[in-house]
Point group: D4
Chain length 254, copies 8
């Protein structure tokens, strides 16, 4: 409950300006209302550590613009994901400071946290076709303050490409592994690191890849114990998780 409101009600009661029934009713109403109030004011940012994010997919350009304007009024930083080029252009036209990453299909306006205020995230991807998902993760994590380094096109079909980067990768606080087909890269990275590894299976593949289910099942059954998994193509989720984890590490140096 909102402390100020509660005090006022109680004082009104003590001063006999409110009956017992009125006070009971007020307290009951507040139980619900202040939750909502908190939500609107500080909202998702305070509760979950991330501002609300606009998922472009399945929305009209008008709907996206309208939400962005509301957020802008509240000085909220804005992250919009899965935007079509048309949606992105309209958003960019209205907000000159907008940054558009076409590959990631993401528009950012402002930052949810100081750039590089968080810890270090290594984003590793297997093939060129996995890049849109990897970039979505990178944009999300850096929007939330993480320092992200990219290691792209290092799939297990040529594992030496990964090996030469392992030294740098080991110094990160958390690794994201983005891979389609059989998703074996997550297990290989997991077996070489002593940090959490977030596997992002992608829908890259054909035939029995079943739209990414093969990679998903592969990562879930990883023989490396430090691999966890998010939904297929869910670069956004991996970005959020990696930023949250890296924050824990970042605070230690303060």
């Amino acid at each position: 409950m909102d402390a100020d409101n509660l005090v006022k009600i109680l004082e009104a009661y003590k001063n006999s300006k409110a009956s017992l029934e009125e006070v009971l009713e007020q307290i009951r109403l507040q139980e619900a209302e202040e939750l909502e109030f908190a939500c609107v004011d500080h909202g998702r940012m305070a509760r979950c550590g991330i501002p609300e994010v606009i998922l472009g997919q399945g929305k009209t350009a008008d709907q996206i613009l309208s939400i962005a304007r509301q957020m802008a009024k509240r000085q909220s930083p804005i992250l919009a994901t899965r935007l079509s080029p048309e949606q992105a252009k309209l958003l960019a036209a209205e907000f000159p400071q907008a940054q558009y990453n076409e590959l990631a299909r993401v528009v950012k306006i402002g930052q949810a946290a100081e750039p590089a205020s968080g810890g270090r995230v290594a984003c590793i991807s297997a093939g060129t076709s996995d890049l849109p998902v990897a970039e979505e993760a990178v944009e999300t994590a850096s929007f939330l303050g993480a320092q992200v380094e990219k290691f792209y096109d290092v799939g297990v079909a040529g594992i030496h490409r990964l090996m030469r980067h392992m030294g740098v990768i080991k110094s990160a606080d958390v690794a994201i592994v983005v891979a389609g087909m059989e998703g074996a890269l997550a297990s290989v990275v997991g077996g070489l690191l002593d940090k959490p590894v977030i596997g992002v299976p992608t829908s890259v593949g054909y035939g029995s890849s079943l739209g990414g289910l093969a990679a998903l099942m592969g990562m879930l059954n990883s023989c490396a114990a430090n691999v966890c998994v998010v939904n297929i193509d869910n670069g956004f989720g991996a970005g959020v998780l990696s930023a949250m984890i890296s924050r824990l590490a970042a605070k230690r140096s303060v």
Copy 2:
């Protein structure tokens, strides 16, 4: 490569005690051998942050004892999981300092890290039948140094049970959510926290629960962006991941 060995070879070569061919051969051999050597000596602990763990499932009691003896010789702390009562008894008989958690099916001998040297982990489970998996996660995480608090039997069929603990849960560095059936608890917890949430679907359920696949799919499709998932009944993996994440946080207070 092992630095000391390398120096010796190079000096022998400079002092003409070894021919160019011999040096080249030695360097080549070392490329492979020192990897292996590192593995045996400091091994998994150094590379992955966790010592080797004995998975009891599918092993004979003799095999388990034999591996445990080898580890004991090297003064390695021991974690053995998925033990039958018989396997556990034999292990405990030989190692008097062994601690056996029957519900978790886990035996621990020593600690891989100072007790409570890591950060804070909240382990939340939905129903009584999920306890073996939850306890496996708890034992693993605390073996690796995490401070774990348990919140059991707080499933969404009576969500007020969860709500009253949320204040304490919010102060943890990472949450584990163990749930079978539809696994909705992971989404509810994820929506209330600004920390990473590790979902562990369990095989608890019947009919179309498909041995835990329903809970797994539920958690993977969570509407909360900070939920990642490990394999069905994989309490061990959740324990490892949560300990790794909490370590990042623990170091900050040093």
Copy 3:
């Protein structure tokens, strides 16, 4: 058999105006015919409590118009679902009294039961993308006489939004829960109510949501015992069921 017809035949036989063979033949014919006759005259409405409904999907605009005209001749109220904007416009052009809900993709002409003659239905949905299915349920239920209240965008990623409405929701006779992704909202609502809850999984989601199967499996495995489920995106079915259930309650106040 139709009692009047049967009496006439028997009297004709007694009065020897019909032979035994003729009577036997007549009775046999009636066995089939009066069933059919009942169907055509009072038909589905009498038998199943709902008039026939026009499913727009997979029909040409001509077919839809033709069926609607036949029903209109019989003074039957008309509900047409899953209409494209083009189908809806043609229907509206011919029947000026038609009401078109674009979001629900539904056209209604008349009412199958007095408005609000039934009981109270609460229609709860998780996210904006679930609205077309939720609205189809609402239109169907109100067409059949139910009093429907809507509670939209109250998904578990921000559970406080649901909580503040629970008081009103509890006063309904039956609740519909429309949710995609993991479908956890059905379990949460089910755990808070002492009324039947009809879960409608939607195809909203991506990756391993498998076109709504994840939400479907989640709802089927709900830990709340008062949750039943209809097919993915089946707002129409949920509307029919909720209206039927609420009728039972409505009659008590007469």
Copy 4:
């Protein structure tokens, strides 16, 4: 919040026997505690319309006895489901008034509502092998006060067996249809009724029945709009739902 407690706190405050800080603290504590308290005292019964139920599956006989004793102390009626014969015998030995339905694997001690205080439920099953699930539904519904009539062994392989009972079935408030194999009985009954139909797919079948998935999918895709579905073999859920629905009807005659 508990009204009595709240009044006491407020009066203590008004009478200056408690400081403002103490009152605020008390109200905060109550927010959580009275929820829990309500749960224990009136609990599930008040909130969800059904008392807690003991699911025998996966519990030891000792655990079942212990829970039953706790409930008995609180004068709570007891329903225990999925009991092995051994579990049932122990329960019956301790509670002489216990009623054991071996086929249903259910023990009942007392009633959660006056016998036949609810509405009328028709429980229809396809084959002999479906009886344990059907009986579980019957026992649950009647424990919750419903008047249940049984129509067993009326599967569609001989549809005339069902037809002759349709007159009686039509007079019920709600129908439960329990069927394995292809589950077609739910569609047939649904097409003949103007009441809600709860389909319970069973794991009866072989080969491609996939443990009841074929029947489940059949019922979910029913061409009858008034069919909803619960999990495979979930007689308990169907019993709860049917009792809740029939209660709505029962109240009208008061």
Copy 5:
């Protein structure tokens, strides 16, 4: 082997017009060639009782025309299935005697057997959307000489519609049941007949119908023992099978 050819070779050998080696070679060649020859000349018709059929799906109009011309040269009757309107028009333009069933997507030129020379087939379908598949079955069966009677739109949501036709249906030699959604119609018909029933699941449905898999599984698990099943939407296969079965019956009256 072709008897005439064989006799010629042997006589040439006896008359010493061919060496032993030549005879051996000839016999070996014939083993393969006459099989092939039989195939081309009388071919599939002789071996399998049906001429080759042109599956339009996945073929260009040119390919279809080219095959049809080859068959026409050999005076073969032609059945072309799964034709687009464009493919059908081109075929009809070249062969004036072609008969085009637009709903069935089938063109026929000639007959593979005398019209109505076979036995009686009842083709029963559940809903309007199942008609293309039902018509494909009807066209195929009648092309092969069967006498087909149609019973359309008699799904189990209104089972009385089926019942009144059962008398006529019972007099057929074999029944085809075409149904989507849950496919329950096959079980109902199977339970009422003493003849083989060929179930054709269709891809009609949505959500968990999984493109016809729900209907397929329903029919495979039918509680009626006289139901067999062909692939989803496979009206052609059902037509072939029913014609073959009905031929057995037709011959008896000769």
Copy 6:
């Protein structure tokens, strides 16, 4: 309706020995009763061409004996399938004329039709492990009067074994193909015959055979148009279907 009964009622009415009300009531009762009566007396045999069959699976020996005694009283021939050796022994002990096929797990007492009164059935199986299912089909078909010839162990791994029997197989009226693993035998036989082929996938196999699903899917997708399919391991269904089909052929020679 039973013609004799109907005549009596009508005559009683004409002779004024029964009132109009009594006649109406009688006719209504008969609608239901004579269906039921027909079922009990001539029953399933008359309606479906096969007597009721006792499925041993899931029944106690007592239940089986009890049903068999009832059938024996009515002079009904008895077929009991899926019997355990114990169930079979008890049945054989009571009915000395019982014939027990241990491999098929079938007991027969009497014949439902004159031996070899039906047409010719070829039962073809791929491997030794498929024999129980093949024998169940053979016993069922011959119980129903078919003349069955067996062609066992002729799987496609050695296709010449099948080829040498094709001459005889071609002379049958219908073929049953029993095969597990990939089920390719059904396609091969289908491509060589101009008769209906009933595919029976078996659960023989391992790994990705998925308990017979691989064979089932193989047969459903057969490139031969004359192959239909029954459920996995459903030898009984194949026996019934083949007997029904062969009857059509058998009658022609009369």
Copy 7:
């Protein structure tokens, strides 16, 4: 056809010791018989390069002994797989020269090809639990003459273990990779070799490994183009294939 027989028949005909009809009949009979004869005499060995193999699974010890005796009479080498310890003991008791590999569940009597007459096969396995399948492959390949080297327990959770053996592995003609869980080892090995790689997914794993389906799908979707796959746990198939491939290489050095 058997050339000698054919010559005799033709000569008899030329010498008029046989009529034309008799010759035609003989040739027809031979078409079938010599195929069968070839099968029995040189049989599978000649046709497929491997003798018949006894699959113990699903056979009684008597059946196994009986087949082994028949083979022994023909001096055929014997390979029996998937034997229980009991089956193996009985076989060994009768054939003193039998070699029993308990881990592989295989008994061998003699050799199908000279030991090490074939090429070089590398058999690589991921974990200890995969050993029974790996050993079955090794025994089968060496029975067929291959030179097999084993590289066990080199899974990707510690990829350096594999790396140090790659030099030797690269010199083999073909590699077998046996792995459960996510099966990533096949991709890693495939990416490092210029030889064919046969992936054998195993049923080792739990939860969403689905009895080996996760590993199977992983290997099928491998990003390495030289990986092919056999059924889950099919060590026998991998052994046969690797021996066949290595034979091609072995012959070159002759």
Copy 8:
């Protein structure tokens, strides 16, 4: 490591032109760099026996051209697969020596190995719709030096078509079998050959073919032990594997 570089470093050290620290650093850098260097220069060709291949699917024409130019500069032969006609035309316009196989969707520029320098590959396909996949396999295998013979349209629905080619097929070193629907052709060919058989399931089919999964499962469960499988529609993989296997055989004749 690159031998020349290594020698230079060591000599510089011996001659005291480099300090110990410098040598150690150089060796460490080389560990990574020379791997990478090898990759760029001789690269994939040396390591895996095949040059890098351009997968057109999912790439823009510009990307394809850019990669092709880079490869052309290095005199690398080029294979580009899954090209759209537009992509192919652009490639052909720039490289006059390009050969475009429209059916296979493949462009080749040069050869990765001397034409016909490898062994003999038989490419067998079931139906006309399987040709694009079969041709992709053929082009890939011949690009890598194999001698490929084609046997098209020989599916099991008319098995005599296959039989007459078996003599020639048996003389190949390895067979590729390309088939959709039930994929039975792989088993039939496997049962007739003593060589490895590579099964390529195709997505040809409908209904329960599930996009090629039915054929894939069929081939994986083949009763012939010499059949291995690649992913659905993976003609490229089959081409690579068959070329690798046939090389083993080809070298023997040198």
